[in-house]
Symmetry: C2
Subunit: 193 residues, 2 copies
């Protein structure tokens, strides 16, 4: 699994990896592959599970560090970006998998994102930051937030990890996106639908 991630981190697409290639990178003979996985899709599914752990760690850190509501977004986006930097290959895999070739992997990642969104909704409720929204409205908002951040991932993975300037641009842009969404959510009811 590490070998596959390494290759993905080097710019290869998961869908184009072969068994021999992965085992070669792992420093192991091709046949060993079958001791652990039935095929590449299987490997992908197990990677999705590990990806879930990575996302949960990120969420926990965000929960612990976001104390005042006014810095919520700056902090969260910052934590997101630092986790992406620290687990670049995983996030490459995630970005690829969303439109990947294995339906199962695709569905797995999507379900991780849904879970993330619903956890986020819980947190916002808990912090009493969305009292005027119904459950459905809050869920929609969180869904949009997660999607927006997930799309920023594509930007983030497109620039070199050392390019601090570009990364900062992405952070600012993402933060403004979230602010815009929050403003929308804050005034949602007043518009009526």
């Amino acid at each position: 699994m590490n070998a596959a991630l390494t290759l993905v981190g080097k710019g290869r697409h998961f869908a184009s990896l072969g068994i021999r290639e992965v085992t070669r990178q792992a420093g192991v003979v091709p046949t060993s592959f079958y001791r652990h996985f039935r095929n590449m899709d299987d490997l992908g599914l197990q990677l999705v599970d590990e990806l879930g752990l990575v996302l949960r760690r990120m969420m926990r850190e965000a929960r612990e560090n976001v104390l005042q509501a006014d810095k919520l977004m700056d902090e969260s986006v910052g934590i997101f970006i630092s986790h992406v930097q620290a687990n670049r290959s995983f996030f490459f895999f995630m970005a690829q998998g969303l439109a990947g070739e294995s339906r199962a992997v695709q569905e797995g990642i999507r379900s991780e994102l849904r879970f993330f969104a619903s956890e986020l909704a819980n947190d916002l409720r808990r912090l009493r930051l969305a009292d005027h929204l119904s459950d459905a409205e809050l869920e929609m908002t969180c869904d949009l937030i997660v999607r927006t951040v997930a799309f920023s991932l594509t930007d983030l993975l497109g620039v070199s990890p050392d390019d601090d300037y570009q990364i900062d641009q992405i952070r600012k842009r993402t933060t403004r996106f979230l602010q815009l969404i929050f403003v929308g959510a804050a005034h949602w009811k007043s518009e009526g639908t």
Copy 2:
């Protein structure tokens, strides 16, 4: 190019396609490939160009059909969805390419999206729907809109094209996302930044 698109439309990932596979699908001998493309990346780049045309057609249709501002979003999302249905393979390619293996293709698609966002900004200006926003703010809003719709693409491609119920769900959700963003944009200034 059609052969490659066909394979992608069948669920294959572009990154995993080989020259022989594509030429086989095209009903042509492998060596013929080199008469038209240097390698698969080259083919990808030319597909991006064609994708640009598809997007432009879609934009034109939206411009012609969106007459009253109040139905703007319903109409636009509807047009988007019908174009996706009509050019499913192209949009598969686009979704894949965003996190694809060829940096050039990636950049090409991203630039198509940027262009789309800036055209959208022009249109909104022209319709006098964003008079209270500065150019930069409008651009940000349109960027977010395009991203949101692009992400919905992933949802749309994940369900069967005949599953009218699910497609309708996606349309409604996407429309609400856009409404939320518009509400945010409408109240943006008043919040201050």
